[in-house]
């Protein structure tokens, strides 16, 4: 395959947008997907991710902007002239053709006569060599999914588009296919653009994830970066769970911002604050539930210095095997979520117990306080 740094293989969207009457499905958007990467568009249904994908495929005409593939402007090309193939949601396998003919469809349309060898190799790649003469409805969901991938990949597209390809599979099969798709992508080196609403799926598979909301890209980055440094409450809530405390900027010292929340003080590294932090201004302080330690109030003295701390009372706890999830009521934030690993469980940590929550300030992130702290909570559910 081509050199991964070759810029001619990039997918470049420039100012692309889509409106239906008064409704804007995709706001003007610039996006570059480097050649050979596994790129995920993540968002809830109706966020514009599928529309974006369809504009790349040519199935939807952009209202404005251009799509270029490897330096060539393909905006005006119909889908059947674009070097792009799609794995459709629910697969769209041709029911009147058998598996072999489904896979051979693209080759035949391009006038290639001897397709047998290629099709057989491709079916072997997806481990369906035995099933060549069956009709799609005779295959299981997972097998149909692999046919859909084979049918698209056999054309050696510059980009493979996957529209919720795993949505119809059950959880176990989905995990298996995630690894399978990742393997295939590494093997063939083709750019994959994957649309999904499943944040775990996006994080497991993709090198780069773009989180979309209401027709806009909220944030883009590697999965770890998005998770650790969310820049909006939507991203913070849509990817995993976050706790938010509204705090006031007290002072800045070196690399750190000191905040006032309730009676106590919290420390936030300036690098991890995406909001303008002027003294006296408000900031939303966020922290992930698994970063927090829980100590009974009687042992508060044992907590090392330099950690952010909050006091509260356990409202609820649920045991889920690897961890225990606590809901803590505190003066600065009701329903504070804490996930504690089940090692050395303190038997005193039961609902009603007074506790101290504490964490390493390096895990704190700061967001603009003007946004809704609950954005993205429902979408993630």
């Amino acid at each position: 395959m081509t050199n991964k740094t070759d810029p001619t293989g990039d997918v470049r969207l420039t100012g692309i947008s889509k409106t239906y009457g008064a409704f804007t499905a995709v706001h003007p958007l610039d996006l570059t997907v480097p050649q050979g990467s596994f790129f995920a568009l993540l968002g809830a249904s109706g966020c514009g991710k599928t529309t974006t994908l369809r504009m790349i495929a040519g199935l939807e005409e952009p209202s404005a902007g251009t799509v270029s593939l490897g330096g060539q402007d393909v905006t005006a090309l119909p889908p059947y002239k674009r070097p792009v193939n799609t794995v459709f949601q629910s697969y769209a396998l041709f029911p009147h053709l058998d598996i072999f003919e489904n896979v051979a469809f693209g080759l035949r349309r391009r006038g290639i006569k001897s397709v047998k060898k290629q099709v057989e190799e491709m079916l072997d790649l997806v481990q369906l060599g035995e099933q060549a003469r069956k009709k799609p409805h005779q295959l299981s969901g997972g097998q149909q999914q692999r046919v859909a991938v084979a049918r698209a990949l056999i054309n050696h597209p510059k980009v493979l588009l996957l529209d919720e390809p795993l949505g119809a599979l059950d959880l176990k099969l989905r995990r298996q296919m995630q690894l399978e798709l990742k393997r295939i992508q590494t093997e063939v080196g083709i750019t994959f653009i994957h649309v999904t609403h499943d944040q775990e799926e996006a994080m497991t598979m993709a090198d780069t994830v773009a989180v979309m909301n209401a027709g806009r890209v909220e944030q883009l980055g590697s999965p770890a970066d998005l998770y650790e440094n969310p820049r909006t409450t939507f991203v913070a809530n849509f990817l995993g769970t976050s706790n938010f405390i509204e705090a006031e900027v007290d002072s800045k010292s070196g690399e750190e911002i000191v905040l006032k929340a309730g009676g106590g003080k919290l420390v936030l590294p300036e690098a991890r604050c995406s909001a303008p932090a002027t003294t006296g201004g408000k900031v939303l302080v966020g922290v992930r539930p698994e970063k927090i330690s829980l100590t009974h109030a009687d042992d508060a003295g044992e907590i090392p210095d330099g950690r952010n701390r909050i006091t509260g009372r356990i409202a609820d706890s649920s045991f889920i095997g690897v961890s225990t999830q606590y809901v803590v009521d505190s003066p600065v934030c009701t329903d504070f979520e804490v996930y504690a690993q089940n090692i050395d469980r303190d038997p005193r940590l039961v609902p009603g117990a007074e506790v101290v929550l504490h964490w390493n300030p390096a895990h704190t992130f700061g967001l603009d306080a003007d946004q809704d702290a609950d954005a993205g909570v429902e979408e993630a559910a």
Partner: protein, 266 residues
């Protein structure tokens, strides 16, 4: 009382089978009386067994001629109605356009109109235009009333078709024409075939509209109607029986082929 319980549980089955018997009784009579040797001109009373009519099905003047007229009209009417109806069905399912409601009503009304009303009004038109009644006026009328049924059959099929399939074809390098021929048409084919078969049956068996607009042309149903006044030849029963048998065999054979293919592929 096990018997009463059994009866209670299977009451619906018994009632259903009785209805089926009611539906099939006339066909049994038609078949049995195709072996009759009637005394007078009418074939309503059983006399004695005879193969005469089967040996000479065209032995009555004009009978096979009328059959041929009916088959020709049915063929062309099926072709015309299927073509026009399929186009309309695709337009209705695939496109947004003004006057959709009006088009839908225009399709629905011929099916909701008693035949005699359509027959009489069409005759009024032909008389006013001074058209020569005969083969062509029958054909025009048949295409008209078969059209709506074809639209309904094809529409149902096209509507249940996943539009993503056509997108997939376009995505896989098939242009608009290739997409239509390779994907759309094969998938819509069962609906089109069902519509065509319905059109053929409706046209071949139509009497009321034909009777009004036929002039001196005689179709098979009109021949049967005439013979009910003049005298019913046994050959009518022969043809009725033969059509029934051929149709049932055709359906059974196509089902057997379908079954075998499925089992083979499984």
């Amino acid at each position: 009382m096990p018997f009463v319980n059994w009866l209670k549980r299977n009451l619906v089955v018994i009632a259903g089978l009785l209805t089926l018997a009611y539906l099939l009784l006339p066909n049994v009579i038609v078949t049995v009386f195709s072996f009759n040797k009637p005394k007078g001109r009418f074939n309503y009373e059983w006399q004695r067994f005879s193969l005469d009519a089967w040996k000479d099905p065209c032995g009555v003047s004009d009978l096979c001629g009328s059959l041929s007229v009916s088959l020709q009209i049915a063929f062309w009417a099926t072709l015309g109605a299927t073509l026009l109806g399929t186009l309309i069905a695709f337009a209705l399912v695939r496109y947004r356009f003004r006057a959709r409601g009006a088009v839908n009503s225009l399709i629905f009304l011929p099916m909701a109109m008693p035949e005699v009303v359509m027959a009489a009004s069409l005759l009024t038109l032909f008389l006013n235009m001074g058209a020569q009644l005969g083969f062509w006026t029958i054909l025009i009328a048949h295409i008209m009333f078969c059209l709506s049924f074809v639209v309904t059959a094809v529409k149902a099929r096209v509507m249940s078709m996943d539009p993503k399939l056509e997108e997939a074809a376009r995505d896989l390098y098939a242009g608009p024409f290739q997409t239509f021929v390779r994907v759309t048409l094969p998938i819509a084919a069962p609906g089109i075939a069902a519509g065509a078969m319905l059109a053929f049956a409706l046209s071949f068996d139509d009497f009321i509209i034909t009777n009004f607009n036929a002039g001196s042309t005689v179709t098979f149903p009109m021949f049967v109607w005439g013979s009910a006044q003049r005298g019913t030849p046994v050959q009518i029963n022969v043809i009725g029986t033969a059509m029934f048998v051929v149709a049932v065999l055709f359906v059974l054979a196509s089902m057997a082929v379908g079954n075998r293919r499925n089992r083979h592929k499984a």
